[in-house]
Symmetry: C2
Subunit: 223 residues, 2 copies
Protein backbone atom coordinates (compact mmCIF):
# COMPACT_ATOMS: atom_id res chain seq x y z
CA UNK A 1 0.00 0.00 0.00
CA UNK A 2 1.19 3.49 -0.81
CA UNK A 3 1.50 5.77 2.18
CA UNK A 4 1.26 9.53 1.70
CA UNK A 5 2.69 12.03 4.16
CA UNK A 6 2.29 15.77 3.64
CA UNK A 7 4.10 18.71 5.18
CA UNK A 8 1.52 19.04 7.99
CA UNK A 9 1.95 15.36 8.91
CA UNK A 10 5.72 15.87 8.80
CA UNK A 11 5.59 18.83 11.19
CA UNK A 12 3.61 16.74 13.70
CA UNK A 13 6.06 13.81 13.78
CA UNK A 14 8.48 13.07 16.59
CA UNK A 15 11.77 14.80 15.80
CA UNK A 16 13.91 11.65 15.55
CA UNK A 17 11.31 9.77 13.51
CA UNK A 18 11.08 12.72 11.12
CA UNK A 19 14.86 12.98 10.85
CA UNK A 20 15.15 9.26 9.99
CA UNK A 21 12.36 9.51 7.41
CA UNK A 22 13.43 12.71 5.67
CA UNK A 23 17.07 11.63 5.58
CA UNK A 24 15.90 8.64 3.49
CA UNK A 25 14.14 10.67 0.82
CA UNK A 26 16.98 11.86 -1.40
CA UNK A 27 18.09 8.29 -2.17
CA UNK A 28 21.50 6.71 -1.61
CA UNK A 29 24.30 8.93 -0.37
CA UNK A 30 28.03 9.21 -0.62
CA UNK A 31 30.04 8.33 2.50
CA UNK A 32 33.21 10.29 3.09
CA UNK A 33 35.52 11.18 5.93
CA UNK A 34 36.53 14.82 5.95
CA UNK A 35 39.96 15.43 7.47
CA UNK A 36 41.02 18.84 8.76
CA UNK A 37 43.55 20.50 11.00
CA UNK A 38 43.06 23.49 13.27
CA UNK A 39 45.25 26.60 13.19
CA UNK A 40 47.19 25.13 16.13
CA UNK A 41 47.67 21.77 14.41
CA UNK A 42 45.02 19.63 16.11
CA UNK A 43 43.55 17.06 13.70
CA UNK A 44 39.85 16.42 13.22
CA UNK A 45 37.97 13.76 11.28
CA UNK A 46 34.23 13.58 10.65
CA UNK A 47 31.96 11.42 8.49
CA UNK A 48 29.75 13.23 5.98
CA UNK A 49 26.99 11.76 3.82
CA UNK A 50 26.53 15.05 1.96
CA UNK A 51 29.57 15.41 -0.29
CA UNK A 52 28.37 16.08 -3.84
CA UNK A 53 29.89 16.60 -7.29
CA UNK A 54 29.61 20.22 -8.39
CA UNK A 55 31.69 20.32 -11.56
CA UNK A 56 34.52 18.63 -13.45
CA UNK A 57 36.46 21.61 -14.85
CA UNK A 58 37.48 23.07 -12.50
CA UNK A 59 36.99 19.99 -10.33
CA UNK A 60 34.65 21.15 -7.58
CA UNK A 61 32.98 19.36 -4.68
CA UNK A 62 30.29 20.58 -2.30
CA UNK A 63 29.57 19.67 1.31
CA UNK A 64 26.57 20.41 3.55
CA UNK A 65 27.43 21.35 7.14
CA UNK A 66 24.63 21.34 9.70
CA UNK A 67 24.61 24.02 12.38
CA UNK A 68 25.25 23.14 16.03
CA UNK A 69 26.71 19.73 15.24
CA UNK A 70 30.09 18.07 15.59
CA UNK A 71 30.53 19.02 11.96
CA UNK A 72 31.16 22.58 13.12
CA UNK A 73 34.69 21.60 14.14
CA UNK A 74 35.24 20.66 10.53
CA UNK A 75 33.88 23.99 9.29
CA UNK A 76 35.94 26.00 11.78
CA UNK A 77 39.10 24.21 10.66
CA UNK A 78 38.37 24.63 6.95
CA UNK A 79 37.82 28.35 7.41
CA UNK A 80 41.00 28.64 9.48
CA UNK A 81 43.39 26.65 7.27
CA UNK A 82 41.61 26.70 3.85
CA UNK A 83 42.31 23.01 3.21
CA UNK A 84 40.55 19.71 3.82
CA UNK A 85 40.62 16.15 2.59
CA UNK A 86 37.74 13.96 1.42
CA UNK A 87 38.32 10.24 1.93
CA UNK A 88 35.87 7.62 0.65
CA UNK A 89 34.56 5.16 3.24
CA UNK A 90 35.05 1.51 2.26
CA UNK A 91 33.87 -1.75 3.81
CA UNK A 92 37.02 -2.10 5.88
CA UNK A 93 36.61 1.16 7.81
CA UNK A 94 32.90 1.95 7.98
CA UNK A 95 32.55 1.28 11.71
CA UNK A 96 35.49 3.54 12.53
CA UNK A 97 34.01 6.10 10.13
CA UNK A 98 30.61 5.98 11.84
CA UNK A 99 32.23 6.42 15.25
CA UNK A 100 33.73 9.77 14.19
CA UNK A 101 30.19 11.20 14.47
CA UNK A 102 30.37 10.97 18.28
CA UNK A 103 30.63 14.28 20.13
CA UNK A 104 34.26 14.14 21.18
CA UNK A 105 35.73 17.10 23.05
CA UNK A 106 37.55 19.57 20.86
CA UNK A 107 40.97 18.46 22.14
CA UNK A 108 40.35 14.83 21.18
CA UNK A 109 41.34 13.77 17.66
CA UNK A 110 38.85 11.40 16.04
CA UNK A 111 41.84 9.81 14.29
CA UNK A 112 43.09 8.56 17.67
CA UNK A 113 39.68 7.92 19.20
CA UNK A 114 38.39 5.90 16.23
CA UNK A 115 41.53 4.05 15.15
CA UNK A 116 42.37 5.76 11.88
CA UNK A 117 45.71 7.18 10.77
CA UNK A 118 46.47 10.72 9.57
CA UNK A 119 48.80 10.98 6.57
CA UNK A 120 50.16 14.15 4.98
CA UNK A 121 51.09 14.96 1.40
CA UNK A 122 52.90 18.01 0.07
CA UNK A 123 50.56 20.77 -1.05
CA UNK A 124 47.61 19.88 1.17
CA UNK A 125 47.56 21.35 4.69
CA UNK A 126 45.13 18.78 6.04
CA UNK A 127 45.39 15.11 7.01
CA UNK A 128 44.33 12.33 4.65
CA UNK A 129 43.04 9.02 6.05
CA UNK A 130 45.79 6.47 5.43
CA UNK A 131 43.31 3.57 5.40
CA UNK A 132 41.10 5.10 2.68
CA UNK A 133 41.66 4.18 -0.98
CA UNK A 134 40.06 7.05 -2.93
CA UNK A 135 41.10 10.38 -1.45
CA UNK A 136 40.91 14.02 -2.41
CA UNK A 137 42.97 17.02 -1.31
CA UNK A 138 40.69 20.05 -1.48
CA UNK A 139 41.16 23.81 -1.24
CA UNK A 140 38.32 25.86 0.22
CA UNK A 141 36.70 28.20 -2.31
CA UNK A 142 33.35 29.46 -1.07
CA UNK A 143 30.97 29.38 1.87
CA UNK A 144 27.24 29.75 1.25
CA UNK A 145 24.94 30.27 4.22
CA UNK A 146 21.48 28.82 3.63
CA UNK A 147 18.96 31.10 5.33
CA UNK A 148 16.17 28.51 5.00
CA UNK A 149 17.58 26.34 7.79
CA UNK A 150 20.96 27.63 8.93
CA UNK A 151 23.04 25.02 7.11
CA UNK A 152 26.27 25.98 5.38
CA UNK A 153 27.41 24.82 1.96
CA UNK A 154 31.17 24.52 1.65
CA UNK A 155 32.51 24.51 -1.90
CA UNK A 156 36.08 23.52 -2.69
CA UNK A 157 38.40 22.76 -5.56
CA UNK A 158 39.95 19.31 -5.82
CA UNK A 159 43.72 19.77 -6.06
CA UNK A 160 44.85 16.17 -5.54
CA UNK A 161 43.32 12.78 -6.27
CA UNK A 162 44.70 9.51 -4.88
CA UNK A 163 43.28 6.18 -6.02
CA UNK A 164 44.34 2.58 -6.75
CA UNK A 165 45.29 2.49 -10.42
CA UNK A 166 43.57 -0.91 -10.75
CA UNK A 167 40.24 0.86 -10.26
CA UNK A 168 40.40 3.18 -13.25
CA UNK A 169 38.74 2.34 -16.54
CA UNK A 170 40.07 3.34 -19.94
CA UNK A 171 37.53 6.15 -20.27
CA UNK A 172 38.49 7.75 -16.96
CA UNK A 173 35.70 6.27 -14.80
CA UNK A 174 36.75 5.02 -11.37
CA UNK A 175 35.23 1.70 -10.39
CA UNK A 176 34.23 2.57 -6.83
CA UNK A 177 32.73 -0.86 -6.32
CA UNK A 178 36.14 -2.39 -6.96
CA UNK A 179 37.58 0.08 -4.45
CA UNK A 180 35.13 -1.23 -1.85
CA UNK A 181 33.46 2.16 -1.45
CA UNK A 182 30.12 2.02 0.37
CA UNK A 183 26.84 3.83 -0.21
CA UNK A 184 24.79 5.21 2.68
CA UNK A 185 21.08 5.62 3.31
CA UNK A 186 19.21 7.48 6.00
CA UNK A 187 21.43 8.50 8.89
CA UNK A 188 23.06 5.19 9.77
CA UNK A 189 22.79 2.51 7.08
CA UNK A 190 25.84 1.15 5.23
CA UNK A 191 25.56 -0.68 1.92
CA UNK A 192 27.82 -2.54 -0.47
CA UNK A 193 26.92 -2.19 -4.11
CA UNK A 194 26.54 -4.54 -7.04
CA UNK A 195 26.74 -3.04 -10.51
CA UNK A 196 23.87 -3.77 -12.87
CA UNK A 197 25.58 -2.06 -15.80
CA UNK A 198 27.04 1.12 -17.18
CA UNK A 199 25.00 2.63 -19.99
CA UNK A 200 26.03 4.44 -23.17
CA UNK A 201 25.47 8.18 -23.67
CA UNK A 202 21.75 8.71 -24.27
CA UNK A 203 20.63 10.08 -27.64
CA UNK A 204 17.08 10.49 -28.95
CA UNK A 205 15.96 7.39 -30.84
CA UNK A 206 19.18 5.43 -30.25
CA UNK A 207 18.95 2.20 -28.18
CA UNK A 208 21.13 2.19 -25.05
CA UNK A 209 24.11 -0.15 -24.96
CA UNK A 210 25.94 -1.60 -21.99
CA UNK A 211 29.42 -0.09 -21.54
CA UNK A 212 31.71 -3.01 -20.73
CA UNK A 213 34.59 -2.41 -18.31
CA UNK A 214 38.06 -2.00 -19.71
CA UNK A 215 40.68 -1.34 -17.04
CA UNK A 216 43.84 0.63 -17.59
CA UNK A 217 46.03 -1.84 -15.70
CA UNK A 218 45.66 -5.53 -14.94
CA UNK A 219 43.49 -6.38 -11.95
CA UNK A 220 45.34 -7.08 -8.75
CA UNK A 221 45.34 -6.45 -5.04
CA UNK A 222 45.69 -2.74 -4.45
CA UNK A 223 46.01 -2.74 -0.68
CA UNK B 1 49.61 0.94 -6.85
CA UNK B 2 48.36 4.31 -5.79
CA UNK B 3 47.99 6.81 -8.60
CA UNK B 4 48.14 10.53 -7.83
CA UNK B 5 46.64 13.17 -10.08
CA UNK B 6 46.93 16.86 -9.28
CA UNK B 7 45.05 19.87 -10.59
CA UNK B 8 47.61 20.49 -13.35
CA UNK B 9 47.28 16.88 -14.57
CA UNK B 10 43.51 17.29 -14.43
CA UNK B 11 43.55 20.43 -16.56
CA UNK B 12 45.58 18.59 -19.24
CA UNK B 13 43.21 15.62 -19.54
CA UNK B 14 40.80 15.04 -22.41
CA UNK B 15 37.47 16.61 -21.48
CA UNK B 16 35.42 13.39 -21.47
CA UNK B 17 38.07 11.43 -19.59
CA UNK B 18 38.23 14.19 -16.98
CA UNK B 19 34.43 14.32 -16.68
CA UNK B 20 34.24 10.55 -16.12
CA UNK B 21 37.03 10.68 -13.53
CA UNK B 22 35.88 13.69 -11.55
CA UNK B 23 32.27 12.50 -11.54
CA UNK B 24 33.52 9.40 -9.70
CA UNK B 25 35.23 11.26 -6.88
CA UNK B 26 32.37 12.19 -4.58
CA UNK B 27 31.34 8.55 -4.07
CA UNK B 28 27.98 6.92 -4.77
CA UNK B 29 25.12 9.15 -5.83
CA UNK B 30 21.38 9.32 -5.57
CA UNK B 31 19.41 8.63 -8.74
CA UNK B 32 16.18 10.56 -9.18
CA UNK B 33 13.85 11.59 -11.96
CA UNK B 34 12.74 15.21 -11.69
CA UNK B 35 9.28 15.84 -13.14
CA UNK B 36 8.14 19.32 -14.16
CA UNK B 37 5.56 21.08 -16.28
CA UNK B 38 5.97 24.25 -18.31
CA UNK B 39 3.69 27.28 -17.97
CA UNK B 40 1.80 25.99 -21.02
CA UNK B 41 1.40 22.48 -19.57
CA UNK B 42 4.12 20.57 -21.44
CA UNK B 43 5.65 17.86 -19.24
CA UNK B 44 9.37 17.29 -18.80
CA UNK B 45 11.32 14.53 -17.08
CA UNK B 46 15.07 14.39 -16.45
CA UNK B 47 17.39 12.12 -14.50
CA UNK B 48 19.56 13.79 -11.84
CA UNK B 49 22.35 12.23 -9.79
CA UNK B 50 22.73 15.37 -7.69
CA UNK B 51 19.69 15.48 -5.40
CA UNK B 52 20.86 15.90 -1.82
CA UNK B 53 19.35 16.10 1.65
CA UNK B 54 19.52 19.63 3.03
CA UNK B 55 17.43 19.43 6.20
CA UNK B 56 14.66 17.52 7.96
CA UNK B 57 12.64 20.34 9.58
CA UNK B 58 11.59 21.93 7.35
CA UNK B 59 12.16 19.06 4.95
CA UNK B 60 14.46 20.48 2.29
CA UNK B 61 16.18 18.98 -0.73
CA UNK B 62 18.83 20.45 -3.00
CA UNK B 63 19.57 19.84 -6.67
CA UNK B 64 22.55 20.84 -8.85
CA UNK B 65 21.66 22.04 -12.36
CA UNK B 66 24.46 22.31 -14.89
CA UNK B 67 24.42 25.16 -17.38
CA UNK B 68 23.80 24.55 -21.08
CA UNK B 69 22.42 21.08 -20.57
CA UNK B 70 19.07 19.36 -21.03
CA UNK B 71 18.62 20.01 -17.34
CA UNK B 72 17.89 23.63 -18.22
CA UNK B 73 14.38 22.65 -19.32
CA UNK B 74 13.86 21.42 -15.79
CA UNK B 75 15.13 24.67 -14.30
CA UNK B 76 13.01 26.82 -16.61
CA UNK B 77 9.89 24.87 -15.65
CA UNK B 78 10.63 25.01 -11.92
CA UNK B 79 11.08 28.76 -12.08
CA UNK B 80 7.88 29.15 -14.12
CA UNK B 81 5.55 26.92 -12.07
CA UNK B 82 7.32 26.74 -8.66
CA UNK B 83 6.75 22.98 -8.32
CA UNK B 84 8.59 19.79 -9.19
CA UNK B 85 8.62 16.15 -8.25
CA UNK B 86 11.56 13.96 -7.24
CA UNK B 87 11.08 10.27 -8.06
CA UNK B 88 13.60 7.63 -6.97
CA UNK B 89 14.97 5.41 -9.73
CA UNK B 90 14.57 1.68 -9.03
CA UNK B 91 15.85 -1.41 -10.84
CA UNK B 92 12.69 -1.68 -12.94
CA UNK B 93 13.01 1.73 -14.61
CA UNK B 94 16.70 2.62 -14.71
CA UNK B 95 17.07 2.27 -18.49
CA UNK B 96 14.07 4.52 -19.12
CA UNK B 97 15.48 6.92 -16.53
CA UNK B 98 18.89 7.02 -18.24
CA UNK B 99 17.26 7.67 -21.61
CA UNK B 100 15.66 10.89 -20.27
CA UNK B 101 19.16 12.42 -20.45
CA UNK B 102 18.99 12.50 -24.26
CA UNK B 103 18.64 15.93 -25.86
CA UNK B 104 15.02 15.78 -26.92
CA UNK B 105 13.47 18.85 -28.55
CA UNK B 106 11.59 21.08 -26.15
CA UNK B 107 8.20 20.01 -27.53
CA UNK B 108 8.91 16.31 -26.86
CA UNK B 109 7.95 14.96 -23.43
CA UNK B 110 10.50 12.54 -22.01
CA UNK B 111 7.56 10.73 -20.40
CA UNK B 112 6.34 9.71 -23.87
CA UNK B 113 9.76 9.28 -25.44
CA UNK B 114 11.10 7.08 -22.63
CA UNK B 115 8.02 5.06 -21.70
CA UNK B 116 7.15 6.48 -18.30
CA UNK B 117 3.76 7.72 -17.10
CA UNK B 118 2.90 11.13 -15.62
CA UNK B 119 0.58 11.10 -12.61
CA UNK B 120 -0.85 14.10 -10.79
CA UNK B 121 -1.82 14.60 -7.16
CA UNK B 122 -3.72 17.48 -5.58
CA UNK B 123 -1.45 20.20 -4.24
CA UNK B 124 1.53 19.56 -6.54
CA UNK B 125 1.53 21.33 -9.93
CA UNK B 126 4.03 18.92 -11.48
CA UNK B 127 3.87 15.33 -12.74
CA UNK B 128 5.01 12.40 -10.60
CA UNK B 129 6.39 9.26 -12.25
CA UNK B 130 3.70 6.60 -11.82
CA UNK B 131 6.26 3.77 -12.02
CA UNK B 132 8.43 5.14 -9.19
CA UNK B 133 7.89 3.92 -5.60
CA UNK B 134 9.43 6.67 -3.44
CA UNK B 135 8.28 10.07 -4.67
CA UNK B 136 8.38 13.64 -3.42
CA UNK B 137 6.25 16.65 -4.27
CA UNK B 138 8.44 19.71 -3.88
CA UNK B 139 7.87 23.47 -3.81
CA UNK B 140 10.66 25.69 -5.11
CA UNK B 141 12.22 27.88 -2.40
CA UNK B 142 15.53 29.32 -3.54
CA UNK B 143 17.91 29.53 -6.46
CA UNK B 144 21.64 29.94 -5.82
CA UNK B 145 23.91 30.76 -8.74
CA UNK B 146 27.41 29.36 -8.27
CA UNK B 147 29.86 31.83 -9.77
CA UNK B 148 32.72 29.30 -9.65
CA UNK B 149 31.37 27.32 -12.60
CA UNK B 150 27.96 28.61 -13.64
CA UNK B 151 25.95 25.80 -12.04
CA UNK B 152 22.71 26.54 -10.23
CA UNK B 153 21.59 25.08 -6.92
CA UNK B 154 17.83 24.67 -6.64
CA UNK B 155 16.50 24.34 -3.10
CA UNK B 156 12.96 23.21 -2.40
CA UNK B 157 10.66 22.16 0.42
CA UNK B 158 9.21 18.64 0.39
CA UNK B 159 5.43 18.99 0.66
CA UNK B 160 4.39 15.42 -0.14
CA UNK B 161 6.02 12.02 0.32
CA UNK B 162 4.71 8.84 -1.33
CA UNK B 163 6.22 5.46 -0.43
CA UNK B 164 5.26 1.81 0.00
CA UNK B 165 4.31 1.40 3.67
CA UNK B 166 6.11 -1.97 3.74
CA UNK B 167 9.40 -0.09 3.37
CA UNK B 168 9.19 2.01 6.53
CA UNK B 169 10.88 0.93 9.74
CA UNK B 170 9.52 1.63 13.23
CA UNK B 171 11.98 4.46 13.77
CA UNK B 172 10.97 6.31 10.60
CA UNK B 173 13.79 5.06 8.34
CA UNK B 174 12.78 4.06 4.82
CA UNK B 175 14.40 0.87 3.59
CA UNK B 176 15.37 2.06 0.11
CA UNK B 177 16.96 -1.29 -0.67
CA UNK B 178 13.59 -2.96 -0.15
CA UNK B 179 12.08 -0.32 -2.46
CA UNK B 180 14.58 -1.37 -5.15
CA UNK B 181 16.15 2.08 -5.28
CA UNK B 182 19.49 2.17 -7.10
CA UNK B 183 22.72 4.01 -6.39
CA UNK B 184 24.73 5.67 -9.16
CA UNK B 185 28.42 6.24 -9.75
CA UNK B 186 30.23 8.35 -12.28
CA UNK B 187 27.99 9.53 -15.09
CA UNK B 188 26.46 6.27 -16.22
CA UNK B 189 26.80 3.37 -13.76
CA UNK B 190 23.79 1.81 -12.02
CA UNK B 191 24.12 -0.27 -8.86
CA UNK B 192 21.90 -2.37 -6.63
CA UNK B 193 22.80 -2.28 -2.96
CA UNK B 194 23.25 -4.85 -0.23
CA UNK B 195 23.00 -3.62 3.35
CA UNK B 196 25.89 -4.46 5.65
CA UNK B 197 24.15 -3.04 8.71
CA UNK B 198 22.61 0.00 10.33
CA UNK B 199 24.62 1.31 13.25
CA UNK B 200 23.56 2.83 16.56
CA UNK B 201 24.00 6.53 17.36
CA UNK B 202 27.71 7.11 17.99
CA UNK B 203 28.82 8.24 21.47
CA UNK B 204 32.35 8.64 22.80
CA UNK B 205 33.57 5.45 24.43
CA UNK B 206 30.39 3.45 23.70
CA UNK B 207 30.71 0.40 21.39
CA UNK B 208 28.52 0.57 18.26
CA UNK B 209 25.60 -1.83 17.98
CA UNK B 210 23.80 -3.08 14.91
CA UNK B 211 20.28 -1.64 14.58
CA UNK B 212 18.07 -4.54 13.53
CA UNK B 213 15.17 -3.83 11.15
CA UNK B 214 11.66 -3.64 12.58
CA UNK B 215 9.04 -2.83 9.97
CA UNK B 216 5.81 -0.98 10.69
CA UNK B 217 3.69 -3.35 8.62
CA UNK B 218 4.15 -6.96 7.55
CA UNK B 219 6.34 -7.53 4.53
CA UNK B 220 4.48 -8.02 1.30
CA UNK B 221 4.46 -7.10 -2.33
CA UNK B 222 4.03 -3.35 -2.61
CA UNK B 223 3.64 -3.07 -6.36
Amino acid sequence: MEKVIDNHDLAALDQRFRAALVNSLSGFKSLNLVGTRSATGATNLAIFNSVFHLGAHPALAGLVVRPDSVERHTLDNILATRFYTINQVHHGIYRQAHQTAARYARDVSEFDACGLTPEYRAGIAAPFVKESYVRLGVEFKQRIDIGLNGTVLVLGQILQIHFPEQCQCADGYLDLEKAGTLAGSGLDSYHRTQRIERLSYAKPGVPLQEVLPEYLVEPGNFT
